[in-house]
Symmetry: C2
Amino acid sequence: MTAAITYEHIKTCKQSGARLGRVHTPHGTIETPMFMPVGTLATVKTMSPEDLKAMDAQIILSNTYHLWLRPGEEIIKEAGGLHQFMNWDKPILTDSGGFQVFSLSDLRKITEEGVHFRNHLSGEKLFLSPEKAMQIQHVLGSDIMMAFDECPPYPADHSYMKASVERTSRWAERCLAEHKRSGKDSVQGLFGIIQGGEYEDLRKQSANDLTALDFPGYAVGGLSVGEPKDVMNHVLEFTTPLMPEDKPRYLMGVGSPDSLIDGAIRGIDMFDCVLPTRIARNGTCMTSAGRLVVRNAKYARDFSPLDEKCDCHVCRTYSRAYIRHLIKCEETFGFRLTTYHNLYFLLNLMKQVRQAIMDDCLLDFREQFFEEYGFNKENARNF
Amino acid sequence: MTAAITYEHIKTCKQSGARLGRVHTPHGTIETPMFMPVGTLATVKTMSPEDLKAMDAQIILSNTYHLWLRPGEEIIKEAGGLHQFMNWDKPILTDSGGFQVFSLSDLRKITEEGVHFRNHLSGEKLFLSPEKAMQIQHVLGSDIMMAFDECPPYPADHSYMKASVERTSRWAERCLAEHKRSGKDSVQGLFGIIQGGEYEDLRKQSANDLTALDFPGYAVGGLSVGEPKDVMNHVLEFTTPLMPEDKPRYLMGVGSPDSLIDGAIRGIDMFDCVLPTRIARNGTCMTSAGRLVVRNAKYARDFSPLDEKCDCHVCRTYSRAYIRHLIKCEETFGFRLTTYHNLYFLLNLMKQVRQAIMDDCLLDFREQFFEEYGFNKENARNF
C-alpha cells in the first residue's frame, strides 16, 4: 500500500540549513517550504478557486470545527467531500477542530474522553473527541488530516502543560487507531501535533511520544499564540531536530513574512495563517517595502500599484487610489484585490525562499528582505 | 466630425416590432436590445472587470452622483478618467446624478438654476446644475452621458409634471450647450431624457422639445418608479413612437426579465437596473424556471445548479447547497456567485431576445419565457 502522504527531500541550504522538498499528496505535489491560504468555511474569504490557482496556491487549509457547525459534515458527505463541494481539485489540509474548540467556544470542559463545549454560534452543547475529529475529517476527505490535540494558552505552567502533552499523546494514539480502523489511510494522511509550549523537556516528551506512533508528517502546535518571536524561534530550534527528517514539518498558525523565513531556516516545510486574508479585509497590505495601509488618506491620489516590485495581477492592473476608494466604500471588490495581493505576496515569498535554498543563500535573502521590509527597524510591526 | 454615438438598425421583428441593432461608441460596439450592469461606485458590486467580460457584458453604467461624492471627480480626472480608474476598456454610460439627488439626498430645493441638496453621507450642502452634471461626466469620460433632468415621484399631478417637464427641457438645452462648449461631443455622446410620467400629452411635449435639440440618443425616464407594469407598458406604447428611429432608445432603471422583453417589444434598445445585483446579495436568483431564493433551507442538500438550463460558469461548477452554505455564512464568494449568475442570466436573456428578433418570433419567445418563468401565474412576483 502506498502512503497517502510522502516527503521527498531535494536539498538542504548550506548557508541556513533550510530544507527544499516536495510533499506528495493524493491531489498533487506541493513544493516546500510553502504557505497554505486558509479557507475556513470551504472558501478562502473573497477568493474563487480560479483566483487561488492564478496565484499558484498549491494547497489550502480548511477548518474542521467550522465546517462541522456549518454546513455540517453530512452535507459535505452528500456532496462527495470537500474538494467536490467547493470545486477545489488540489490538496486540502484540515485541522482537527481542537484549536477552535479551545479558542472560540464557551464553557468547554476537557475530559480524558474529549471536550464538551458550546457551539459559538448557537450555544448548542457539543462534544468533540479524537475519534469524532477523525470521523469528520474522513467525511471531508482532506489530503492531510490533523490529530486532535489540546493547544493550551500562552503562558501555561509546566505542570498543566505536562498533563496536557500527555493527554495529547494519548489522544494522538486514539486518532491513529480511528484512522487505521477507517481504512482511509491510503487516501488521507494523518499528521501528529507536537505540543509542549516553551518547555524543552515537554517538547521532547511530546516528540518522542508522537514519532513512536509513526505519523506521515508532524506539526509544531502551540506556537504563535501570543509568545514573543524570539521564544517561537527558540522553541523551533530545539523542536525541529526532534522531528523525523523524512517527513514534512508543519508550523501551525504562522504567516507573517519574517516568521515564514525564520521558520524555514529552522527546518519547517509548511505554514498556514489567516493573517494575509484577515488584514486584507481591513485594507492592510504586505509589500516588499513593508506594511501598507492602503485605506489611509495619503493614498487617495496615489496611482502607483500596491507594491512596485510585485508582478501580481492586482499590482499590474490597479492603483492604490482605486483600491483605497473601493475599501473606503466597503466595496467587496476592494477586499478581493487586497486579499489576492497579500496571498500572492506570501506565495511568491515562499517561491523566493525555495530559490534561495536552491542557491544556498537563504540567510543572505533573509537579511535583504528584512532590511527592505523594515523588520530590522526598532519597534518593527509583526507584519 | 464623426458623432461619438451612432445607431445602426439591423432589422425589425415582423412579429413584435422590436428592433435589432447596434450602438457604436468610442469604446466599441454594442448589440441591442441589451442590458447594462450597474457599477455604481466604479465597480459592479462583487464583480471584477474580468468577470464582466467573461459573462459578455458589453457596457456598464456608473453613477455620477456617487462618484462625485466618492472618490470625487478630481481623483478620477487624475487617474485619466473612469475607464482607466476602474480598468474597464469597454463602453460606459453615466447617468446625470439627477435621479440620486431626488431619491437619496435630504432637504433638496429645486430652482431654475439647479438643485440644492445635502450629501446623503456627510450632510454637506451641495448644488447640482445641468452644467455641473455635464462637467462631472466630462471628467468621468463616459461614452454615453445623460442630460440632467428631474425625475418626479409616482404619482405626480399633471400641473406639477407639466412644470417639471418644461424645466427638464430647459435644462436639456443647457446640458447640450455645455456639452458643445466642452468640445467633448466627438468622444462622448449626450442623451436626452423624455419625462412626463403617465401623461400622454406631457410625454409628447417632452419628446417634441428634446428631439428638436437633436441628441444622438434618447431615454425614457420616470418609469419603474412604483407604477404598475401595465402603466409602464402603456406609457412606452405611446412614447417610443415619438422617439427618432435612427437613434438608440434607453429605458432607465428597468431590469426584471418580463419588463426587458416587454420593453424590447415596444421598441426599446437599452436597459439598466440594480435588480439582478441587489437581489443576488440577498441570496435571490433569476432562473429559467423563475425566482429562486437559494438561501432558503430547502436548498441545503440540493446539489443541482442554480438553473439547470443555464450554461454560465457558476451553474456549470457550483451547487445550490454550496452557494446556500456560503450565503448563510455571509461569505463574499457566495454573493460573487449569485451576482455573476444573475447578470449572466439577463445578458443571456437579451441574447435570446436578439435572436428571436432575428427570427421574427419575439412574441412566441415571450409567451414561452413567461410561461416557464411563472409570469403568467396569478400574483406572479416581479422578478
